[in-house]
């Protein structure tokens, strides 16, 4: 049934796209970002992996991200590729569609077509940045340079087809059928059903309530419920929140976590932001769970297209789930701290 709906939706999208082929086209948009960073761990070990930037005392590369977008009438496409450690072997999948850190491929961030049937209803098919969570792979779209445990637990992208209906500027609903997480093609068919309800109760406050049920990136059938919200209270003060829970398999293992993102802008080009996170790995088969707390203080200093991100981060791993070590490199430690300075150029 899901396959039939997906095929029918794709056919509709294709027909509509062909129908507007003669309509006026917008210029081809080219955009992207480049990032590099220095990281120093106070225990002189690459303790906090943060999914990107896992080295110690190193000037390292992030990625170059290149995106193309074109709109013709009501139809549009986005193609976005990334090259470099952050968008390559530190992200999944690699060019072969799997995860092999030795493979020197690239990572597709977005590759989809969209058709706006009306001002209120549109459909999208392809490989898209996930609708789950607060943070994303591209550092140009995050305030903090290192990423949260919630982000690292995925999903990162979803391949599938989705329809979005905007009831008003304040309420919209997305429903879609997807492959398993982070895969260019399905290994066990279109296996997931996802949805997103967007509400904007007052000006500046937007909340996304997300749900995804199906085959996850770990090979289990799971359900993830996610709340991602941000409120621009004044021109200087913004607060964000991400809370998520994933239950997977018969034993209901998974994770749950919450992260708070208060930010203060001193000027339009200088801002300071904190990320305070609590993350819990659920124990398998009723076994003990393990939790981590993390505090990250980041600055954003902008000059033209360049953003400098100085950052300090303290993680507490009371259950030794992260393998933090002391400066001798072998003795396990409950905490880790690091400093990093990143430069991200967006164009």
């Amino acid at each position: 049934m899901k396959k039939n709906i997906a095929a029918l939706s794709l056919l509709l999208l294709t027909t509509a796209t062909v129908a507007v082929a003669q309509e006026k086209a917008s210029p081809l948009e080219i955009s992207g970002s480049v990032d590099t960073y220095y990281k120093y761990d106070f225990n002189k070990s690459g303790n906090i992996k943060t999914y990107f930037a896992g080295e110690q005392n190193s000037v390292s590369l992030g990625m170059i991200d290149l995106a193309l977008k074109k709109t013709t009438g009501k139809a549009s496409f986005v193609g976005e590729l990334s090259f470099g450690p952050r968008g390559q072997y530190e992200s999944i999948p690699d060019a072969a569609g799997g995860y092999d850190p030795t493979a020197n491929g690239f990572n597709i961030q977005n590759l989809y077509v969209n058709y706006a049937f009306t001002d209120k209803f549109s459909m999208t098919a392809g490989y898209m940045g996930t609708f789950i969570g607060y943070e994303v792979i591209s550092p140009a779209a995050n305030f903090n340079y290192s990423t949260s445990y919630l982000f690292g637990s995925g999903p990162f992208q979803n391949a599938g087809i989705k329809g979005t209906y905007a009831f008003s500027d304040k309420v919209s609903l997305m429903v879609g059928l997807f492959n398993e997480w982070n895969q260019y093609r399905a290994s066990r068919g279109v296996s997931s059903l996802g949805g997103q309800l967007m509400i904007s109760p007052v000006k500046g406050w937007t909340a996304y309530i997300n749900g995804l049920h199906g085959l996850d990136g770990y090979g289990n059938y799971s359900t993830v419920i996610d709340l991602t919200t941000a409120y621009q209270i004044t021109d200087k003060v913004k607060i964000g929140l991400n809370a998520a829970d994933l239950s997977a398999g018969d034993d209901k293992f998974g994770y749950s976590g919450v992260a708070l993102y208060p930010q203060y802008a001193f000027t339009p080009s200088v801002a300071l932001g904190l990320r305070a996170e609590y993350f819990n790995y659920k124990g398998i088969s009723g076994g003990p769970s393990a939790s981590v707390t993390s505090f990250t203080l980041s600055g954003n200093i902008k000059s033209g297209g360049l953003t400098f991100i100085p950052e300090v981060r303290f993680d507490n791993d009371k259950d030794f789930s992260q393998g933090f070590v002391k400066s001798d490199g072998t003795t396990l430690n409950k905490s880790a701290a690091q400093f990093s300075l990143a430069a991200v150029y967006s164009f």
């Binding site: 210029p27 081809l28 779209a141 021109d235």
Partner: protein
């Protein structure tokens, strides 16, 4: 060879015209940038009201209801693009308000309340406003983006001039559909 001085003259003239077209907007008594125009017209007031409503719809402006209710107000936006014409992307938008009033044999309109919203790329590769609180166009630019800010002001001025031309043309030429006569019903019960 005689063509060279002529080309230079034409180039100079076109540059002068360009400079005139992109002159900055004036400020009102409260220090806000605005484009303001009063137009004498023979078009009846009710026709003007219908035509301006059509213009608002055609331009995809959003009607705004004010407490006073004396003016017709709508909000719109101008998307600022960065880069060469064929290879550019949106870098921000300037939101504005359009005000319209009629009075006897004339009407007036103005564009004001200009606010800049910088864009940021979202997770789907689309450029969207990075904040919901705009920066008034009257804000003094910081040293690092003076040229950029001046460009925003000039683009706003150019847009407002073109907007005004479109509006005046629309009000002048748009035909208003004649009101439909009430539908006649045939009564068959009595004959």
């Amino acid at each position: 060879m005689k063509i060279v001085p002529l080309l230079v003259l034409l180039l100079g003239f076109s540059m002068l015209l360009g400079a005139q077209e992109t002159a900055q907007l004036p400020k009102d008594e409260t220090g806000k940038y605005l484009y303001y125009e009063v137009v004498n017209t023979a078009i009846p007031q009710d026709t003007l009201q219908i035509r301006v409503q059509q213009f608002i719809q055609k331009q995809k402006l959003k009607p705004v209801v004010l407490a006073s209710g004396k003016q017709l107000v709508a909000s719109g936006k101008l998307v600022i693009r960065k880069g060469a014409a064929m290879l550019s992307h949106p870098s921000g938008e300037i939101a504005y308000r359009f005000y319209f009033e009629t009075n006897g044999g004339k009407y007036r309109f103005w564009l004001s309340d200009f606010e800049f919203f910088p864009y940021q790329k979202d997770r789907y590769g689309n450029f969207v406003p990075s904040t919901t609180v705009g920066i008034p166009l009257e804000t003094d630019p910081k040293k690092w983006n003076v040229e950029q800010w001046e460009d925003y002001r000039l683009q706003t001025s150019k847009y407002a001039t073109a907007f005004a031309a479109r509006l005046k043309d629309h009000l002048l030429h748009k035909t208003v559909p004649a009101p439909q006569p009430p539908e006649k019903k045939v009564i068959t019960k009595t004959w």
